[in-house]
């Protein structure tokens, strides 16, 4: 029998301490979200109290200096840009994943996938830069002025396409291969297999990807700031300049004071709210749907 030397702190006590410390760190990471929500609320509170919640949606316009705080033009701007981008990027992204899985020759798949991964990591300012220097003048020639909803939608599409494509790719990879083998054994054509078996089986992963894409599109700031023209108005056609909620914060935060500042925090809070709802939706989809 080997005797224990005297240890002041027994291993069990050290373990207990370790678990407490780790739990503390995990709690800190978890609380960060509450901290962010709390701070935005705290900063936005004066706006809601002084200006009134409803005036954000019913004021005559967004003229903070004169005390008008209608954010609807920017909400529409954000929504239209997001909608356009998601409508374009979703079919393209899913087709890209299908192409990768079922059509592309094997030697081509790896480089293609690597490229998409790389594109997903390219900073939004770089896309914004390209949009500003190349795309906007191009649209300007087509239909002045150039900075426009169309430019915003195009850049956003290019930005969220890799995200959706990667998520779709991953969810197609998760479809059990027995489904595919079953379809082949039935003699179904490739397209029928994809349309009627693979895509329905991957729905949950695909919708997760789309939701993440929406989140990214709504939250995008720099690229929108650079290509959309930043005029506060509801765009009536694709060539009208407009301003998104995010760009508004980035533009006006520099000089905003008091109510104006609080109003900007309020819009930030709105964005956060939208994102939280989306994450919870993704979590719900994941909970409900797993291959056993």
């Amino acid at each position: 029998m080997i005797l224990l030397p005297n240890i002041t702190l027994s291993p069990s006590r050290v373990d207990q301490l370790l678990v407490w410390i780790l739990q503390g760190l995990a709690a800190f990471a978890g609380i960060l979200v509450l901290l962010i929500v709390g701070f935005l609320m705290l900063e936005a509170f004066p706006a809601v109290r002084q200006i009134g919640f409803l005036s954000f949606f019913s004021d005559a316009s967004w003229h903070p200096v004169e005390g008008f705080y209608n954010v609807m033009a920017m909400v529409w701007g954000s929504l239209l840009a997001m909608l356009g981008a998601v409508l374009l990027a979703t079919p393209l992204g899913i087709c890209s994943a299908v192409f990768c899985h079922f059509y592309a020759p094997t030697w081509f798949v790896e480089p293609y996938r690597k490229l998409i991964e790389l594109l997903a990591g390219i900073p939004s300012v770089v896309y914004g830069l390209w949009g500003l220097v190349v795309l906007v003048p191009l649209i300007g020639q087509l239909h002045p002025p150039g900075p426009s909803l169309l430019a915003g939608i195009s850049i956003l599409t290019i930005m969220i396409l890799p995200t959706i494509a990667l998520m779709a790719d991953a969810s197609l990879a998760k479809v059990p291969s027995v489904y595919l083998r079953g379809a082949i054994a039935l003699g179904l054509s490739r397209w029928t297999t994809i349309r009627c078996i693979i895509i329905p089986a991957a729905t949950s992963g695909l919708s997760t990807g789309i939701i993440l894409g929406i989140g990214r599109a709504i939250g995008e700031t720099m690229a929108m700031l650079m290509v959309c023209g930043n005029v506060v108005q509801v765009p009536t056609n694709l060539f009208d300049p407009m301003r998104t909620l995010t760009a508004n914060i980035a533009l006006e935060m520099a000089y905003a004071v008091e109510d104006h500042r609080a109003a900007l925090f309020f819009t930030g809070f709105l964005l956060l709210g939208v994102v939280i709802v989306m994450v919870l939706a993704v979590d719900y989809i994941k909970q409900r749907h797993t291959y056993a």
Binding site: V19, F39, S96, V125, S189, T221
Partner: protein
């Protein structure tokens, strides 16, 4: 053989897929090619090693590179211990179904999806104003730390999950303490996961712009202390293209530098993930 309707649509679909694949490739080669083509000419040793002049139209980017480096260092120094601790807790000390672990996981998911401008607002209100750090590298670095934390935790947790359960059982059966098990068995095996997280997080932090405008600020001088304001590379690109007429050439060159750095990060991440991870787990 009779050609059925089905095989006809099959053929159309095939064509469509190839078409879309090439369109996507085409668009991206256009964007990246344009940036690299125009930017590469401006990248030289002189560009990398001198300070910007004339609001950035001329000169180089050395103070901006230094500021970016400092921002990333602060971000990692703060985020790694917290992220590692939280990841160990989530992977080793709590089960999938435990309420606390679930709540933390969902909050991390939310944190991943929070728009960067919202992080910017938070950093501005909390670090810059409430904690009195002003526009400084510390304030920006801490804001970035909040952003990369979920990426870091997710990747490190994944690293711990690759450790076979037999080691944990064996260690428990020997009466080894959690501390020893963690230090000698789990941590070395999970190290590649942490590395991947650090590299991915650095990539995200490096690409970040919106969160930094109101936290680390715009100043393009060489920072003298961590409490100084400093301009990140991505912010430099934004400023040159938006606010400085005639700054496009240098904006392009800076973009190439940024893409180059990200490319290195990406390659490193996939190399670590693929190569080292496999070697560690089956080093026989």
């Amino acid at each position: 053989m009779h050609k059925s309707f089905g095989s006809n649509t099959d053929w159309v679909a095939c064509l469509l897929m190839w078409g879309i694949g090439s369109v996507i490739l085409g668009i991206f080669s256009l964007v990246v090619g344009d940036v690299v083509w125009h930017g590469l000419a401006g990248v030289s040793w002189e560009f990398l090693s001198t300070a910007p002049r004339d609001a950035g139209r001329a000169g180089g980017i050395i103070p901006i590179l230094i500021s970016t480096g400092l921002l990333l260092s602060i971000c990692l120094v703060v985020a790694i211990p917290i992220g590692l601790g939280a990841a160990i807790f989530l992977a080793e000390c709590t089960s999938e179904h435990h309420a606390f672990g679930r709540v933390v996981r969902i909050s991390l998911d939310v944190l991943t999806a929070v728009p960067s401008i919202v992080f910017g607002l938070f950093g501005y209100a909390f670090f810059s104003h409430m904690l009195g750090m002003g526009f400084s590298l510390v304030s920006g670095g801490l804001t970035l730390a909040c952003m990369v934390l979920p990426i870091l935790i997710r990747a490190t947790e994944e690293g711990f999950r690759t450790v076979p359960n037999e080691y944990r059982l064996g260690a428990a059966a020997l009466g080894l303490s959690r501390m020893t098990t963690l230090m000698t068995l789990l941590l070395p095996a999970a190290m590649p996961g942490l590395m991947v997280g650090v590299i991915l997080g650095t990539g995200r932090a490096m690409a970040e712009t919106a969160a930094l405008i109101y936290t680390s600020g715009y100043v393009d001088r060489m920072p003298e202390s961590l409490m100084d304001s400093g301009r990140a590379l991505s912010l430099h690109i934004f400023d040159l293209s938006m606010n400085v007429p005639g700054g496009n050439a240098n904006a392009y060159a800076s973009a190439v530098v940024l893409i180059g750095l990200l490319l290195v990060m990406n390659t490193l991440a996939s190399w670590v993930a693929g190569h080292w991870l496999k070697r560690r787990m089956f080093w026989a």
